[in-house]
């Protein structure tokens, strides 16, 4: 079956928005932990970093709300005044899904619709327990969606959803790592100290990598290891390296199907070739922030090339 360009576009964006909603949910969960459960409450700094990583800090400042858990969680989940909230991501995912109902399996669609229904008519976020419940509900549905996509026919429709997810995941992980650059340790705290460790743990929790970390690194929690894991380790599903490879693979599947290559294929392969030579030690030396900035920028360019190659315009 021929895939309409409009359908391909919707599937791709659907993948991006679902991934983004899932990331937001995980980030909130991890931040709640950082704030409440860690050995020393992190407070405002934790919530402020959650806003920074999702680039919603300016919008939040404009809203005039206080930097508290309830306010930030409400802003990141229920607020419809900015496009970054979970409910807006899910609404856009659902909108795209509705436009391509025929390309999705029933299970995939109902997972998206159920995720969206979690927020229908929801007035507030409640306390910590209610927040964690809400976040868990979103993760359940996005997981369900992920599973449903795995069970869909391995055809172009599935590839475009997964392509969107992979591009979005690469962007999210890069932003998550970059936030560490923005968070200043409180005065008197030292690198490698309790608060520093809490912050790195939060990052690992956001990408479900705490256990994976323990499997791979025996020398305790170290920043260089976290960066190694999330940038260069292909076996770690949310690492930049894994996302980079996934994009190459999916584009390869599409190229085999359509019988032609294009601009996006070339960019993705070049990026993968460069990433294969990258060592985390070098990144640390030459500056993590710079590395991540250029990665996010290149990822956005690849996104543009995908749209051109498949005639989304």
């Amino acid at each position: 079956m021929m895939l309409l360009s409009r359908t391909a576009s919707s599937l791709y964006w659907l993948g991006r928005y679902i991934e983004r909603a899932d990331f937001m949910a995980r980030l909130i969960e991890a931040t709640v932990r950082l704030d409440v459960l860690s050995s020393r409450p992190a407070g405002e700094a934790a919530w402020s970093s959650a806003l920074t990583v999702t680039e919603t800090d300016e919008d939040f400042a404009k809203s005039g709300a206080a930097m508290t858990q309830i306010e930030v969680v409400r802003f990141l989940t229920l607020d419809t005044s900015h496009p970054g909230s979970v409910v807006r991501c899910l609404a856009m995912a659902r909108d795209n899904a509705r436009a391509v109902r025929t390309a999705l399996s029933r299970d995939a669609w109902t997972a998206i619709n159920r995720a969206w229904l979690i927020f229908e008519n929801r007035a507030g976020v409640g306390g910590t327990a209610a927040t964690l419940n809400m976040v868990e509900a979103v993760k359940n549905e996005t997981r369900g969606f992920e599973g449903a996509v795995q069970r869909m026919l391995r055809n172009q429709a599935t590839w475009f959803v997964r392509l969107g997810q992979a591009i979005e995941r690469a962007d999210n992980t890069a932003r998550l790592l970059d936030v560490k650059y923005h968070i200043l340790l409180p005065e008197g705290e030292r690198v490698g100290g309790v608060v520093d460790r809490d912050q790195w743990t939060t990052i690992l929790q956001t990408v479900s990598a705490v256990t994976a970390y323990r499997w791979l690194y025996s020398d305790g929690l170290r920043a260089s290891n976290v960066i190694d894991l999330l940038v260069t380790r292909k076996e770690m599903p949310r690492s930049l390296a894994a996302s980079i490879d996934e994009v190459v693979d999916i584009l390869g599947d599409l190229a085999r199907h359509t019988g032609s290559h294009g601009e996006a294929d070339r960019m993705a392969r070049m990026r993968a070739a460069r990433a294969a030579k990258t060592r985390s030690g070098e990144i640390m030396t030459s500056g993590l922030h710079q590395y991540l900035l250029s990665f996010i920028d290149e990822n956005a360019k690849l996104h543009g090339a995908i749209g051109r190659q498949f005639r989304f315009g």
Partner: protein, 518 residues
């Protein structure tokens, strides 16, 4: 409604248990299943519909942009013999509709012979002079018809309205059955119900059969939707999905040199058959409304060149116009040579002075409709109207009589329905779907039953608080069902994956076929 005793399709004219003799099994089911259990199942069905997004938009109601149509758990049931007679009448009527359209946009014999007043056709807003002379591939214009029927007795069916443009509701026929199979499986062990799940296959077969001759052996078919904000979008996607064909919007199509193409990730791909769910007005801005962004510029030229089949053909509105409707008995006789098997509801054409006088004198007893209205809007139901509403309509009738028809209020049949106080009779109507392809006319054994949920109400439109029910067509005359007939005919959920469970089904009333191509 007056005090006429309505026919209840399950309980008969008595309106109380026992049921009609053939439906004992259903009566026992109703008696043995507590109301609370019926309600629980009904809620479960509605939850599923909401999760699937089987919703519709109510125009002018911004609060509830997405609603589900209420679903009632008690099915309405047709006996085999009732269905056979009914589908004979439907086939005859749809054959006449197709012959009429072919004639009106062709030779206009029916006008020459004075069966219909020419001005009623040629001066009608629904007549499209733009397409006169264009012949649809294979000469079929009304591929999918939804004929709205009401019933007043076991074999008394009346056509209320023909829908020959883009009749909707078939997804409810299929989804309601899915829900019933899941929630009331025991009912299908007691009653042998004809399957409806072949509808998408038959529709695709119909589409392929009317492809332009040049399309070759595997014509490319698509469903054209106005987009996902349309109230019937679920149905559009459902149909495309169950047929395994593309759901396209106008912007996905482009016409070049009178050929229709769709934009895909691999470039342009030729399209041969379009099942459009966009009204004529919006179909092609070069021919109809120039401000339409939903349609495809050049589509009608491609159609005129014979390069694409449009389902249903443009211009069909002239066949289901309410003013033309009143002439349907004459139209059926003119083209088929025999009396209409399915009668019309008696209709007063207010454009005729005598009829107008009668209507004005008897407004409280009549239903008055706009000839070009739909969805229950622009309608007066005399017996339940306030005197203010009656006077408003009186003034409108005097000012523009040609815009109205009137009909007597019939004692519409009822079916037991779950109401606040328990099961209670509610009025129903019925829309079966009739497919016409190059190989004949077929009726799937089922359809959309709409039910007026308000006590005594005759308005079944979903936009006016109506609900739906599953519509069973029995494969036999009902009466005794033995356990070992079990799931006979129940292939709905399993499709072609079933074990050979059709062994004892006998001849299913499956699809009535007529006039296989010579």
């Amino acid at each position: 409604m007056g005090k006429q005793q309505a026919f209840d399709e399950i309980l008969g004219f008595g309106g109380t248990l026992p049921t009609r003799p053939a439906l004992t099994a259903l009566g026992e089911w109703l008696e043995s299943t507590p109301d609370s259990e019926l309600r629980r199942r009904q809620d479960a069905a509605e939850t599923t519909f909401r999760q699937l997004g089987i919703t519709f938009a109510v125009y002018g109601d911004s609060d509830a942009s997405e609603r589900i149509i209420p679903f009632d758990i008690v099915p309405r049931v047709f006996l085999r013999s009732e269905w056979d007679r009914l589908s004979d009448g439907l086939v005859q009527r749809v054959e006449a509709i197709n012959a009429f359209l072919d004639d009106i946009y062709g030779d206009r014999r029916i006008l020459d012979e004075g069966v219909l007043p020419a001005d009623l056709v040629l001066g009608n807003d629904q007549f499209r002079p733009e397409i006169a002379g264009m012949r649809p591939p294979h000469g079929i214009a009304a591929h999918i018809c939804g004929i709205d029927l009401v019933r007043t007795g076991p074999d008394e069916f009346f056509v209320l309205e023909d829908n020959a443009r883009t009749p909707s509701g078939v997804s409810y026929m299929l989804e309601n059955r899915e829900a019933m199979l899941r929630l009331c499986p025991e009912l299908f062990r007691e009653l042998r119900v004809a399957a409806v799940d072949s509808y998408p296959d038959l529709l695709l077969e119909t589409m392929k059969s009317v492809a332009p001759h040049a399309a070759g052996s595997s014509p490319r078919c698509v469903v054209l939707t106005p987009g996902h904000y349309n109230s019937a979008y679920y149905e559009h996607s459902f149909l495309a999905d169950s047929m395994g064909i593309e759901l396209v919007e106008g912007r996905d199509l482009v016409v070049d040199d009178d050929v229709v193409w769709m934009r895909t990730i691999e470039g342009l791909v030729r399209v041969d058959v379009i099942y459009r769910r966009i009204d004529d007005d919006y179909l092609d801005p070069l021919v109809f409304r120039p401000d339409s962004a939903l349609g495809v510029p050049g589509l009608i030229a491609a159609y005129a060149a014979g390069n694409v089949a449009i389902i249903n053909a443009p211009g069909n509105g002239i066949a289901d116009d309410k003013a033309i409707y009143s002439y349907m008995p004459e139209i059926v006789k003119f083209y088929t040579g025999s009396e209409a098997k399915l009668p019309n509801v008696e209709t007063f054409r207010c454009r005729e002075p005598g009829a107008l006088k009668y209507v004005l004198d008897n407004l409280p007893e009549l239903v008055v409709k706009l000839v070009d209205g739909s969805g229950g809007y622009g309608m007066l139901v005399g017996p339940t109207a306030s005197s203010g509403e009656i006077e408003t309509f009186r003034a409108a009738l005097i000012a523009e009589p040609h815009r109205y028809i009137a009909q007597p209020t019939l004692a519409l049949s009822t079916v037991p329905t779950m109401a606040a106080q328990g099961l209670a009779p509610r009025h129903v109507d019925f829309r079966p779907f009739v497919l016409s392809g190059a190989h004949g006319v077929r009726v799937v054994p089922g359809g959309l039953t709409r039910v007026a949920l308000k006590e005594g109400s005759l308005v079944v439109n979903s936009s006016q608080g109506g609900g739906t029910k599953d519509s069973f067509v029995l494969m036999d005359e009902g009466h005794v069902a033995t356990q070992d007939q079990s799931a006979g005919g129940q292939t709905q959920t399993m499709g072609s994956m079933t074990q050979a469970q059709s062994a004892d089904q006998g001849t299913p009333p499956a699809t009535t076929t007529r006039g296989d191509a010579a």
